[in-house]
Symmetry: C2
Subunit: 250 residues, 2 copies
């Protein structure tokens, strides 16, 4: 039974975070809203919240099993997730395996280029400033993360990338890039937080070579391609298919 | 006598570079054009080219004397400078002593905040891309500078900042921030190149506490404050006043 939610602690573009009557536990509500271009574009998609909640829950479970500490505790009804309370580090950590999106607008790196090693960028999480890219010097100057914790974040992000790449590969999906957020719990431990879903990842369908049709993520909304909920649903279906496969007990 | 210029090698927003009949020497013509906001704003200022050429020549001489290798050879007539031919590294190195401009639009760092240590950012020199800020990962990925040369550039930039701060201080001027470009000569040596002028530095007059009146650099153009040539001329006048002061021979 989902615990009762208390006061709203925080409302973001795609989620609401509520207090609960459990110590250091919060309830996260995944919203149907989709926003892009720093919320200049906005639309609601019936069913998106539930799908993203389910996908995120599953991915957090996969990562936890592999030893990545996350804020995830359990998936509750519909679009609700129970998680540990954390102080979010105001950074977006973006890991890219294939060049696309803003990277190709802001550098001469060609669209579709495989990035070896993967490229890790920090953005400052601030809607008013439009979540700007940070240079090393700016990141250091802002003082939002210690050198030690930064190294830890980079090690975790790299580990998460390896795990997600392998996980999606078995679903015939390519994880092109993704955004992570980290939080610090009451014990000072870094936990992967926020969500991991087609809102925060670029996911391409390996079963489809068409540049547009293969897109199963928020780029369907950014690029007005339509079919967002179906695309997200396809990702979820493949994930569910995987867990319903009979185990090989030989 | 100024050597004859040959073929135009490169035309930028504020300078033209020509071949000469001297080996590995180029002639640089400082233009009267001022551009801002990635050339969306453009205007000509009679006399600016000559003033910037004189200021740059003087600053290159100051830096050379202090051991900074530069492309500068001599100032020729009017708006012409003779320099060593270099391959420009396509990076803009921006050193900031006081927070202002884009830094304050792209981070929560407050306008006017003194930056200790000074903040060094790399931008990719590419007009079509709007000279974008680079993260460490992007810079590394672009492969436009080796790790060894990058360290050298950072050491030189820091040294140049110390020298420029001290130089301007004795003129009652504050060097707020500045942009440097480096080139590589035929021997593979890194040389400070491009120009150092009120087009590429922010310079505030310490004799004037008014936020606008104290501006003696291209911000007069960016912010439509007027009096650009007078402001640049004031910087030059103080520099010239310094060199015409009688030496203290005690």
């Amino acid at each position: 039974m989902t615990p009762k939610h208390g006061q709203l602690i925080y409302e973001g573009k795609a989620k609401r975070i509520y207090e609960t009557d459990l110590d250091n536990r919060v309830l996260i509500e995944f919203k149907n809203d989709a926003t892009a271009f720093n919320a200049l574009k906005h639309e609601e998609f019936e069913g998106k919240g539930r799908i993203n909640c389910e996908i995120s829950a599953h991915l957090f479970e996969v990562l936890e099993k592999a030893g990545v500490p996350t804020h995830y505790l359990s998936r509750e009804d519909d679009c609700w997730m129970l998680a540990k309370h954390v102080e979010i580090i105001p950074l977006e950590v973006v890991v890219r395996n294939i060049a696309t999106g803003s990277l190709c607008k802001e550098t001469p790196i060609e669209q579709g280029k495989e990035l070896i090693p993967p490229l890790l960028d920090y953005y400052f999480k601030d809607d008013n400033l439009g979540d700007p890219l940070l240079s090393e010097a700016r990141l250091e100057r802002l003082g939002v993360i210690s050198k030690k914790k930064k190294l830890e974040v980079e090690k975790l992000s790299s580990q998460i990338n390896i795990l997600l790449k392998a996980f999606f590969k078995q679903l015939d999906l390519t994880i092109v890039d993704f955004k992570l957020e980290f939080g610090i719990d009451k014990n000072g431990q870094i936990l992967l937080s926020d969500e991991i879903s087609p809102d925060t990842c670029r996911i391409w369908d390996q079963r489809n070579s068409d540049d547009k049709a293969r897109i199963l993520d928020k780029d369907r909304f950014r690029k007005d391609l339509g079919g967002l909920v179906n695309a997200y649903g396809e990702v979820l279906k493949r994930i569910q298919g995987l867990s319903s496969k009979p185990h090989n007990c030989s």
